[in-house]
Amino acid sequence: MRQFVRKIALLALLFLGVLGLGLALIALSTNWTLQFEYKYFGHRTHWGSSLERVAEFENWSKQQSKTPKGLILGSSTAYRNLNPYILAEKTKVNWFNYGSSSQSVKMSYYLLAQALHKTRLDYVLLDIYPPIAENEGLEAAFDLLYNSELPFWQKTQLLSHYPNVSLWLRSAYFYTKKIVPCRTYIIQDSTNGAYLGRGFVCSNQAPLQENKIPQKKLKVKDFETLYEIAKLCKQHHTKLILNISPQLGTIYCLDPNYHKFKVLASPNFQNPQHFYDSHHMTCAGAHLYSKGLAMKLKSMLYETPPPASRQNQPE
């Protein structure tokens, strides 16, 4: 039996060795050609601005501010539509937008848990874009592992949450590139918009002229993770607020369970000229939307002072 175990272990080591060698060769090849890297892993990219956002968040989390701190979580509708500077000005809360591409509620939970390890948070504004909210968050994990400098322990935790071979390979490649002498290549995409700091990305794309998207109704579900987030916030005396991100031509039918949370929604924000696609806003649109939202948020935040105002949050 020992002979068998030894043989299997040797084969496994051989397999890992070949795999490591393959990764190293691809990394090395970037000194001459980028095609192999692109074919197998794709290039790192500034798309979504995770690189800048994560780096800035590390500093922001260390700040000892006298004003309350608030963290915005969510997908691209969060980091493109919610301007933390406007929210900060109106609500007197130090907001940071920690949204990331395709960030699902599950991924938001994970990021929030890690953020709470690093800093005290008074508020969490969770932006919910229903088509993304219910997915597993694999795309967001790809983005954060490959396109950001998230600390190693956080990346490892992230990997353990997503047993996915591609994700693991890409992560292994990321670290292989740090060992092997090779070229670092990060794509700048002009259509991505400008990173304005505090996690916010301002779009430079042209607004829509009319809304061709037909009216539809969308049901918003998945409370399990939301409850987990609420529980986590309660443990840390953080006030949780949900924001239902507007989508052109879509009426959301909120499940009655949502009424257990503090929910902000702007169903009438439907002018196509404020959007560059069905759910992402132009810079001017985000400005206007954030202003309106800040007013609602302000009245919600100060209807009762923190941290005593948490009785509406579910257990």
């Binding site: 039996m1 068998f4 397999f15 795999l19 047993p163 996915n164 071979v165 591609s166 390979l169």
Partner: protein
């Protein structure tokens, strides 16, 4: 837990090491451990449905004692209790909604409109398999081919052994139970054969079946948009996919069982090398077809009860077999089509022509007659698979009619990958065709290791997303 998931790659070595290194000294501990590991394996998918598995196991375990009674009347009562219990579980969880909908449609034809209550529950994975395990145990006791097992753990291992728990092979008590009850000694050769089977099974599932699935699914979902040639190729692609998927699963199951010292029943013997439909059914999902033969076809009289009864029995067994796969008219029609293809062979007494030897047994290549026979069988099977794969009956008919009428449409599916993967499968299967349980490997060590390594790498790079096995839904 799926065989093609990373969790399983952690679970399997851990269970293997504990089983052979920690619990090897006492059979009862080894069996208890394998039972707990099996429940963990099942519970990983749903702890809620564990109760159903336990209930089904417990009931058949107790019915076994009743059926063993020397009073035939009492034995018969327990036999029927077991049948009602197992079919009742299947009826509720698998067939209730189908019958309720048919009832509603039937009444609507006469102008009565009712809206029956429909269940909103997931189909418990493996339900069709573990209920059939239990029934075969009780049937065998009733037919005095098997004695009831005293030790509950032994019986529960027979029903719930994790390699076969969710999609078979459907074991027989007199084949597996003696292996459970007998001390097992580690065999290096058997374990190595097991690893080869696991590797080959994973290759078929992950590299061949899942890749093809990704290519042909869009065609099945929107066949109207594709050219007829692509539709035909998608149908062939599905034949390859379902074979790679299910035989891949079965190989992993057989290989995993070998690692623990068990030999399971074969489920596939290169079915696409069959020369007629009768041979196909001796080579495709063998454990299910032999189950229906032994517990349904023969008790009904089989082919020896006169011509009319033989025809009736043939249709019954194929239609029931189709219905076993799922509560839908598609599966019933799929079974019916196979019965229609089988019937001429039965009536002409040519259904037992190719009983044991595989095609071109002693030759390198088949002759032209054999090629024609294999191709005609394959194309019939492919035609029937369309009903199996399609969402509903109208989709199946639409798919078939579009395969004739869409020659003007320009959209094509990427045919090269399908043909290439199909070719790999055919060539390797042809090379292995003499024995499905012991894979032939090259004698040269370097070449052998290169093959293992290439296959492992191909599997690893294709494990992008865990695709469930098709037969898990049954």
């Amino acid at each position: 837990m799926l065989f093609n998931s990373l969790e399983f790659f952690l679970f399997l070595p851990l269970v293997f090491v504990l089983y052979w290194f920690v619990f090897k000294h006492a059979l009862r501990f080894q069996n208890l451990f394998i039972l707990l590991a099996s429940y963990f394996f099942y519970g990983w998918w749903s702890w809620a449905f564990m109760g159903l598995l336990l209930l089904s196991t417990l009931l058949d375990y107790f019915y076994g004692f009743g059926v063993a009674s020397s009073q035939r009347k009492k034995a018969k009562i327990f036999l029927w209790l077991s049948i009602v219990n197992n079919l009742g579980i299947l009826g509720v969880f698998k067939y209730y909604n189908f019958f309720a909908e048919q009832f509603e449609t039937g009444l609507a034809l006469f102008g009565f409109h009712v809206s029956p209550y429909l269940l909103d529950i997931a189909l418990p994975i493996g339900i069709s398999f573990y209920t059939f395990h239990g029934m075969s145990y009780v049937f065998d006791i009733y037919r005095q081919k098997q004695k009831p097992v005293r030790n509950f753990v032994d019986y529960a291992v027979f029903v719930s052994f994790f390699p076969l728990l969710v999609a078979g092979p459907i074991e027989r008590a007199n084949h597996l139970l003696p292996q459970v009850q007998k001390p097992r000694i580690f065999s290096y050769t058997q374990a190595l054969e097991g690893c080869r089977l696991i590797l080959w099974g994973l290759f078929k599932k992950v590299v061949i079946a899942d890749t093809i699935a990704g290519l042909i699914d869009p065609v099945f979902n929107a066949y109207q948009d594709y050219n007829s040639a692509s539709i035909l190729l998608a149908a062939i692609g599905f034949s390859i996919q379902i074979y790679g998927d299910f035989s891949g699963y079965s190989d992993i199951a057989l290989g995993t069982a070998k690692l623990f010292g068990f030999e399971l029943l074969s489920n596939f013997r290169f079915p696409y090398f069959s020369r007629d439909i009768a041979e196909f059914w001796r080579r495709w999902h063998i454990s299910l077809s032999s189950w229906f033969k032994d517990y349904l076809y023969i008790p009904l009289g089989g082919s020896k009860a006169g011509r009319n009864k033989a025809i009736r029995n043939t249709f019954i067994i194929f239609i029931v077999s189709g219905f076993w796969h799922g509560a839908s008219w598609n599966f019933i029609i799929w079974g019916f089509l196979h019965a229609c293809a089988f019937l001429p062979l039965l009536l002409l007494r040519r259904n037992r022509q190719h009983l044991s030897e595989v095609v071109a047994h002693a030759q390198l290549l088949p002759n032209s007659k054999e090629v024609l026979q294999m191709l005609s069988t394959f194309f019939f099977v492919t035609f029937a698979w369309v009903f199996f794969r399609a969402e509903n009956l109208s989709a199946a008919l639409g798919f078939l009619s579009s395969s004739f009428s869409n020659w003007h449409v320009s959209k094509l599916l990427p045919y090269k990958s399908i043909l290439f993967l199909g070719l790999i499968l055919v060539v390797i299967d042809w090379y292995l065709r003499h024995n499905e349980r012991r894979l032939k490997v090259p004698a040269q060590r370097v070449l052998r290791y290169l093959i293992y390594l290439s296959m492992a790498l191909a599997i690893f790079f294709h494990m992008d997303s865990e695709q469930s096995f098709i037969y898990f839904q049954f």
